[in-house]
C-alpha cells in the first residue's frame, strides 16, 4: 500500500510527524512499525512485516516429507513442537496411519512443555517492556528448567524436532518422567510468586490496565486467536473445540478473561501455563506402554489428496494445508500461523495511545515476527 503523509493528513500536515520504529529498535525486533505522531499520541500506525520472510512454503515443495521437519520448526523456535504437531497430524491423516497411543501422549507432553517455554519468554519480555526487570531475570532463568526437560526428552536445546510424521523421534527416558513431575511441582509454586510480584503489582496494573483494549466484537472481526482472543472473552481453544491426538483424555480448562487489555493478555498466558502443567502431570502419570514410532522409511510415499490440520499452538491456532499429488514431496504446503492473524489487530490497538505504550501493546499481542513472516 502506497501512502503519503500529505494525502492522508492534508488539513494539519505540519502537526503530524512520521516516524519509523524498527527494525533496529528495542521495542520491536525484526519488525518495523510506521508511526504518524501528533505530539505524544499515535495518530496512525502501520505494521511493516516481512523482514524475516524466508520462503518456508516454497522450500517445503522441494523437500520430501521427512526433510521438511527441521526447517518447518525454525519459524517458531520458541514453540517448535506445536508447529510440527500440526504438520505431523496432517501427514498422518494423508497417509491414513494410526499413531501409537504412547507416541500420542509424548506428543502432548512435548507440545505442552513448549507452550510453557514460549509463554515464559512472552511474560519475560512483557516484564522488560513494562520496566519490570525482576520478571525478565526470573522468567529467563526458570524457562531454562523447562528447556532442560525438553533437552532430556528430545536431545536438542530449543529446536527439538521431536514430533515427526508417524509418531515421535525417540522414547522418553525413565529419569525424565521423574524429573518432569518434579519440575511440575516446583513450577506450580513458582507461578504463585509470579502472580504476587508481577500481576498484582500496582505499577504493572497502572502501566497495562486499559491499555490497548480489544473488545470481543473487534477480536472476532480481526480474526484474533489464542491468548489475544481468550483475553477478550472468546473461548477459542482447538484442544477443546476439536480435540486432536489424545487431548480428550485429559482434564483441563480454557482460561478466558473479559478485560481485553494488555494486562489480561499477559495474565491469560499464566493461566494457560497452569493448565499446561496439569496436562503434563496427567500425561506423565498415565503414559501407556508400546511403540513410539511407525516405520515410514526415509522417503515416505504419501497418497494423493489434500488435508487441513490444525493445533492450538502457544500463540493460537496453527494450521496447515497440505496438498499431495502422490510424489514424495508435497505439491503445496500452506502454513497458517497465529501471529499473522493477531497482527491484524495492531493498527487498531495503536490508535490514540501514548508512545510509551507502544512496546507494551505490541508485545502483549504475543507477536513473533519470524513466525508471521514464515
Amino acid at each position: 500500500m502506497r501512502m503519503t503523509l500529505e494525502s492522508e493528513y492534508s488539513p494539519d500536515a505540519d502537526r503530524i510527524m512520521a516516524v519509523s520504529l524498527g527494525p533496529q529498535h528495542p521495542g520491536a525486533g525484526h519488525f518495523r512499525i510506521r508511526l504518524w505522531l501528533d505530539g505524544d499520541y499515535v495518530v496512525k500506525a502501520l505494521p511493516d512485516a516481512g523482514y524475516v520472510h524466508r520462503g518456508e512454503e516454497k522450500m517445503g515443495e522441494y523437500r520430501n516429507y521427512t526433510q521438511n521437519v527441521p526447517h518447518l520448526e525454525r519459524p517458531v523456535i520458541l514453540d517448535s513442537s506445536n508447529i510440527l504437531f500440526a504438520y505431523s497430524l496432517g501427514v498422518d491423516e494423508l497417509m491414513n496411519s494410526k499413531v501409537p497411543p504412547r507416541a500420542q501422549y509424548l506428543r502432548v507432553i512435548m507440545s505442552e512443555i513448549n507452550r510453557i517455554i514460549s509463554h515464559m519468554y512472552f511474560i519475560a519480555i512483557q516484564g522488560l517492556f513494562l520496566g519490570h526487570t525482576t520478571m525478565i531475570t526470573w522468567c529467563m532463568g526458570d524457562r531454562d528448567f523447562w528447556i532442560d526437560l525438553g533437552e532430556r526428552i528430545a536431545g536438542a536445546r530449543v529446536t527439538f524436532a521431536y514430533i515427526i510424521p508417524g509418531g515421535v523421534r525417540n522414547d522418553i527416558p525413565e529419569f525424565a518422567i521423574e524429573k518432569g513431575l518434579k519440575t511440575c511441582d516446583w513450577f506450580e509454586k513458582r507461578m504463585g510468586e509470579y502472580e504476587k510480584i508481577f500481576y498484582d503489582n500496582p505499577m504493572v496494573h497502572q502501566r497495562s490496565d486499559g491499555v490497548g483494549v480489544l473488545s470481543r466484537d473487534d477480536a472476532i472481526a480481526f480474526g484474533a486467536t489464542g491468548t489475544v482472543a481468550r483475553a477478550s472473552g472468546l473461548a477459542l481453544d482447538v484442544r477443546k473445540d476439536e480435540p486432536y491426538s489424545s487431548y480428550s483424555d485429559f482434564e483441563f480448562k480454557t482460561p478466558v478473561l473479559t478485560q481485553g487489555d494488555s494486562w489480561a493478555r499477559a495474565y491469560v498466558a499464566l493461566l494457560d501455563m497452569r493448565e499446561s502443567v496439569k496436562i503434563i502431570r496427567q500425561a506423565l502419570k498415565g503414559l501407556p506402554q508400546g511403540p513410539v514410532r511407525l516405520k515410514l522409511g526415509p522417503q515416505p510415499r504419501v497418497p494423493a489428496g489434500e488435508v487441513y490440520s490444525r493445533t492450538e499452538a502457544a500463540r493460537g491456532e496453527m494450521s496447515y494445508h497440505i496438498v499431495s499429488d502422490g510424489s514424495p514431496r508435497p505439491y503445496r504446503l500452506k502454513i497458517g500461523v497465529p501471529s499473522a492473524k493477531n497482527l491484524r489487530a495492531l493498527p487498531h490497538l495503536l490508535k490514540n495511545v501514548h508512545i510509551a505504550d507502544i512496546p507494551v501493546i505490541y508485545w502483549s499481542l504475543n507477536y513473533w515476527p519470524v513466525e508471521a513472516d514464515r
Partner: protein
C-alpha cells in the same frame, strides 16, 4: 655534494625511526594495550534481531548464562555507543540494506559476530529465494559461531574469542 646530502638525510631518517621505535615501545604499546583492555571487557552489542537465534541470545543474557559476566550487555540506546553487532541468524533481502546501514552508522572500532548457520552460509535456507548466503558479502565478520541455533555456551565462547582478538589487535584505531 648530492650524495652527502642524501647520506645526511638518511642518518636523520634513521634517527627519526629510532625515536619512533622508542616512543612506540615506551608509550604506544602500553597505551594500545590499555585502550584495548578497556574495550574488550565492555562490548556493547546492537539490539538487532535478524531471526530466530535471538532467542538464544535472550537465554544467554538471562540469569542462567548471564553474558554480562563477560562485560557484554545489550545496548538499548544509540547505535553510536555500540561497538559490536551479533547477527542473530538469517539475513533476508529486505533486512540486508538495513544491516549495512546499521554497520556504517556505528563508530570505529567495531566488531561483528556471525551467529548461527544462516548468517555464515545460509544454513538450512541456503536454497531459499529470499535469504542471503552468509553475511560476509556485505559486512566483515570477526568471529563465526556455528550452530542452528548455537547454544548459549557457544555464544559465550564466541565472545571470549573476540575478546582475545581485541587484546591482540595491533593498532589503536581498530582496523
Amino acid at each position: 655534494m648530492v650524495v652527502a646530502q642524501q647520506q645526511k638525510a638518511g642518518t636523520f631518517q634513521v634517527l627519526v625511526g629510532k625515536i619512533d621505535d622508542v616512543l612506540q615501545y615506551a608509550i604506544g604499546d602500553p597505551l594500545r594495550y590499555l585502550a584495548n583492555w578497556g574495550r574488550l571487557y565492555s562490548l556493547w552489542p546492537v539490539h538487532l534481531e535478524t531471526a530466530c537465534c535471538s532467542v538464544e541470545v535472550g537465554a544467554a543474557a538471562g540469569s542462567r548464562f548471564d553474558i554480562e559476566r563477560f562485560g557484554t550487555l545489550e545496548a538499548f540506546g544509540s547505535l553510536r555507543a555500540c561497538d559490536l553487532i551479533i547477527v542473530m541468524g538469517t539475513v533476508t533481502r529486505k533486512l540486508a540494506p538495513r544491516l549495512k546501514l546499521i554497520y556504517d552508522q556505528m563508530a570505529e572500532p567495531k566488531w561483528v559476530i556471525a551467529m548461527g548457520a544462516c548468517s555464515i552460509t545460509g544454513g538450512l535456507y541456503f536454497d531459499s529465494y529470499n535469504v542471503l548466503r552468509g553475511i560476509d558479502d556485505i559486512i566483515p565478520v570477526d568471529v563465526y559461531v556455528p550452530g542452528c541455533p548455537p547454544r548459549a555456551e557457544a555464544l559465550i565462547q564466541g565472545i571470549v574469542l573476540l575478546q582475545e582478538k581485541i587484546r591482540r589487535m595491533p593498532t589503536l584505531s581498530g582496523r
